[in-house]
């Protein structure tokens, strides 16, 4: 039976990998996701066949509760809230791994009493790692959710948190060494203590990080939630868990590095550098003085006339577009322009939106065909042949200072070169700075026009004006 179970895990692992491989193209992605789900089913059946499993009623209760809650969340969540959803699921995954490690510790105690379990060093280390990663993922993710929702603001107590983090690590290492070397199975209090320390550690690691950096943090915690599963696999000696956990771990690591590259920051700087606007931000009066008298304002009617004669139009959506719920209005305007004979594309910066790929999902929801969504490196050379670039609720990712001004705090960050377009129209509610807290030189350029207002309203007015032309 054991052979069969292990083959079951192997088949599941292969199907998981093929499932993720399906995600390499939107055409095969739905199938890939289903393949991954059937892999999960196989893995669960294999686990149920395990000779240790005798009673099923508790398992059924857990599955029913989890299934109902899970289905409810999945149906209800709005696409704009995906970052919060993914962060929450990261935390839940970490919590589950933490509980599995704790339950295994208790069972090992009992098994050791009847002589069926002998403690090894690698088991002890795996238990500690499982607790550490699981607990940090759990509380870290919930702080990240608070920051994404804006309920937890940027902290000015960065030093305090760093100090607590150091203290937690010191306690953890001392406790881990004691646990591994001396008292593995009669240290309930020590385990509880270590869990508490790790839970605090999760909070204090994420608290000092700026809200704008949450995409990186969520990606990293995504990786941790997988590694927590792999660590639980080491505790239980289950290779299926190890393989699948490390797959998720690898995915999170890759996304984290893509996000860091797109912001031109090192992971260390994101995690320990404090929030960016606190480092480099300007005051309101400095910001006003920068723009004073230099911005050319326009309105929806002028924008409509401009677009009427445009051959090539590129939309540059940012998170502000999602906040204004303007995806559908954007799509409607784009369809009108296409009907008018213009070529329309969407330029997607890697950090547009609030998590990797978020903007693509928001636009896909508004039924924008995915082949019109163009990545930064592909679209940048095209801006010089673009008649009108419309920036909707994006700011730092179109700041030419990042490319041209070595003194800019975001110098070196890859940007969308919208300033190369014949005309840049910026739709924005006001002149307040973006996440980096700095003014944007683009807004005072000769080829830039500012249409003040809510993105959705401006686009609807433009659509109306175009119809009247």
């Amino acid at each position: 039976m054991d052979v069969l179970i292990n083959i079951g895990y192997l088949v599941a692992a292969v199907l998981f990998i093929l499932g993720v491989k399906g995600l390499t193209s939107p055409k095969t992605a739905v199938q890939g996701n289903k393949m991954s789900a059937s892999a999960m089913l196989i893995a669960v059946i294999a686990a149920l066949l395990d000779s240790n499993v005798i009673t099923y009623e508790y398992i059924l209760i857990g599955v029913l509760i989890g299934g109902v809650i899970g289905a409810f969340i999945a149906k209800k969540v709005a696409m704009t809230d995906m970052p919060e959803m993914v962060a929450t699921l990261n935390g839940i995954g970490g919590g589950a791994s933490l509980l599995v490690a704790a339950a295994n510790y208790l069972e090992s105690q009992k098994l050791a009493n009847v002589g069926q379990f002998a403690v090894t060093y690698d088991w002890s280390v795996a238990v500690i790692l499982s607790i550490l990663i699981g607990a940090v993922t759990l509380t870290g993710s919930f702080v990240a959710v608070g920051k994404l929702k804006g309920k937890i603001g940027d902290s000015d107590k960065v030093k305090l948190y760093k100090w607590i983090v150091k203290l937690c690590f010191a306690t953890l290492i001392a406790g881990a060494v004691y646990f591994t070397a001396f008292s593995q199975l009669d240290s309930d209090l020590l385990i509880v203590g270590l869990i508490v320390v790790c839970l605090i550690l999760g909070v204090c690691l994420v608290m000092p990080i700026g809200g704008a950096d949450m995409p990186v943090v969520v990606s990293l915690l995504n990786s941790y939630s997988g590694l927590a599963g792999a660590a639980a696999g080491f505790v239980l000696g289950n290779n299926g868990l190890i393989i699948v956990g490390s797959l998720v771990g690898a995915s999170g690591i890759i996304l984290t590095s893509i996000m860091c590259k797109a912001m031109n920051r090192s992971l260390t700087n994101v995690l320990f550098g404090g929030s960016m606007s606190a480092q480099s931000g300007v005051s309101k009066s400095e910001n006003d003085a920068f723009y004073e008298g230099k911005v050319k304002f326009s309105n929806a009617d002028e924008l409509a006339m401009l677009l009427e004669s445009a051959q090539k139009v590129v939309f540059v959506p940012g998170y502000g577009l999602a906040v204004a719920q303007a995806q559908h209005a954007t799509r409607e305007l784009a369809s009108m322009l296409e009907a008018n004979g213009a070529e329309v594309k969407y330029a997607i910066h890697p950090v547009a939106g609030r998590m990797p790929g978020h903007m693509n999902v928001l636009l896909a929801e508004a039924e924008v065909p995915y082949d019109q969504l163009v990545e930064m490196d592909t679209i940048n050379p095209e801006f010089s042949q673009t008649d009108v670039a419309i920036v909707l609720g994006a700011n730092d990712v179109v700041n030419p200072g990042a490319a041209e001004d070595p003194n800019s705090p975001i110098f070196g960050m890859p940007i969308l070169n919208v300033h190369n377009a014949k005309t840049v129209v910026v739709v924005k509610r006001g002149l307040s700075p973006g996440f980096a807290g700095i003014p944007n030189e683009l807004f005072i350029r000769d080829n830039a026009l500012m249409v003040p207002g809510d993105a959705k309203k401006v686009l609807q007015d433009t659509i109306g004006a175009l119809k009247d032309l």
Binding site: Y9, F16, I17, V20, L23, T24, P26, K27, A29, V30, N33, K34, S36, A43, V44, A46, A47, D50, N52, I54, T55, Y58, V63, G67, I69, G70, A71, I73, A74, V77, M82, M85, V86, L89, G93, A96, L99, V100, A103, E107, V114, Q116, V218, N222, G229, F234, L241, L247, V248, G249, A250, S251, L255, I258, P356, G357, N360, V361, A364, E367
Partner: protein
């Protein structure tokens, strides 16, 4: 120790496979990738099942922890796959 080295080998090799496969996922699908991996990390349900389904070696507390772990992991699995499917279907229709 031999068991541990074997597990470690599997772990390291699996990370490499993961990096190779996931590097090919286009940025367009990064959000579904994340919610999909959320679902996959629900694999820890396997550990939770083995922990809570026993009878002789479990304690009341370990069973409770196991059942809560199953519920949490199932939330991940069900919510992860369903929401990923919801998103991917948006990309499919033209």
């Amino acid at each position: 120790m031999e068991m541990f080295i074997m597990s470690l080998t599997i772990f390291v090799l699996a990370i490499f496979v993961g990096v190779e496969v996931i590097n090919k996922v286009p940025p367009t699908l990064h959000t579904p990738l994340m919610s999909g991996t959320n679902a996959i990390s629900g694999i820890v349900v396997v550990g939770a099942i083995i922990s809570s389904g026993g009878s002789e070696h479990t304690t009341v507390l370990s069973t409770v922890l196991g059942v809560v772990a199953i519920a949490l992991a199932t939330i991940n699995i069900v919510a992860g796959y369903m929401v990923t499917d919801r998103m991917l279907n948006m990309f499919k229709k033209k």
